[in-house]
Symmetry: C2
């Protein structure tokens, strides 16, 4: 059944040198993050294998990787369960990101960066301003995530980068839901500029505190909305 042709058919778009396992990881991740595999749902290996046009082996490997990343839970005779996030889960994740991003800001301020190193961060800020003027919240959110990711990169701790990516993925589902319910993020870029200035000034303590406050506010806003609108599981 799954001969070379079907396998080829299953590999679409950006997949070139990638193994089927890697392909399965990225496709499943997209499906989950876009809520096309709804959280709480269960899926058999064979079902996913057919959906992806490959055998169970690479699908199995993919689910193990996704499980290690905290996106799914593999429950022996009940299939792969897409994990849902409660407001409490979101709070856990935000607390972690708050600490690690603030540390990154602190570390970044302690390094000798030149102006070019801030180009991407500046670009992200510019795109946020632009998107805000255009009332384009989706674009704003993408640029906002880019800024935070730049901050982590400037901090220089690669393991924080890994943790950041893992949890950013998970948070994205909730963020997309609340994006149009939240107040317009006008103050956000003020904070971003102030953090960046503190980093340029080499003021570790200030960079850390500005960003921490920024993050704490974001957390309270998001959790508040999730609870207010009754999103008990995202």
């Amino acid at each position: 059944m799954a001969d070379a042709k079907t396998r080829e058919a299953g590999v679409k778009g950006s997949a070139k040198g990638k193994s089927n396992t890697q392909h399965a990881v990225s496709v499943l991740k997209s499906l989950i993050l876009e809520n096309r595999l709804s959280s709480g749902s269960n899926h058999l290996e064979s079902e996913l294998a057919e959906m992806l046009g490959m055998s169970r082996t690479p699908v199995r490997e993919a689910t193990l990787i996704l499980e290690a990343q905290g996106l799914v839970e593999v429950k022996p005779r009940h299939g792969v369960r897409i994990l849902s996030l409660s407001p409490e889960d979101m709070a856990e994740i935000y607390d972690i990101l708050t600490e690690l991003e603030s540390l990154s800001a602190e570390l970044a301020a302690g390094k000798d960066y030149v102006e070019a190193d801030f180009a991407t961060a500046e670009d992200a800020i510019r795109r946020m301003d632009e998107a805000l003027a255009n009332e384009d919240r989706e674009t704003w959110a993408v640029a906002d995530e880019l800024f935070h990711s730049e901050l982590v990169r400037l901090g220089g701790n690669r393991r924080i980068g890994n943790i950041f990516r893992t949890y950013s993925d998970q948070v994205r589902r909730a963020r997309n839901l609340t994006l149009n319910l939240r107040p317009k993020p006008t103050k956000s870029n003020d904070d971003h500029r102030r953090v960046l200035k503190a980093i340029r000034d080499g003021d570790s303590e200030r960079a850390r505190e500005i960003h921490r406050a920024h993050r704490v506010q974001a957390k309270e806003m998001l959790i508040g909305i999730l609870e207010q609108y009754g999103f008990h599981n995202v």
Copy 2:
């Protein structure tokens, strides 16, 4: 070759309901943490499979899980590489643990715990005192890790627990090396007692700061020793 009997033979000791994959994960992890698979070394899937008395399939799955946990790197035609840790890696890990444990202390102080909730932590402190009196650093280290793990548990953020366990595993290799090179950890328990008191008092800020200082000191001590003794890769 690998029939039911050989498979049975491969499963020894504490392995009961565990799948071969899980078994492979824990055995490989032990081998790595005990430096019996030295860091930097490469191992073919087939080699590990034979060593563990099972087929390649569960070994492959195990290596993917260990890769997601940051213990090994799977390099297509060169086998599974046991990752080594440089002093810079150790610094990264310590920085993360410092932040997340300090946050845990802060969170724990904000909760309404009763005395019984601190039993394990108190026990860990007692065992550290005892071990110190007996000059038994190995026991001291185990109890110290338990105390830190209790702190994280009291913080109540389960994801921090996962991160803590992942990196504690990695740090253990280095800690074992330096355990007898470091100064006698006499001050450590003072800090532990003060953190616990701050948590009992509900003083989040103090709990956080005491533990942070404790951790920063530990980091500087460990990194200093690694560099002093020329352990460029653990």
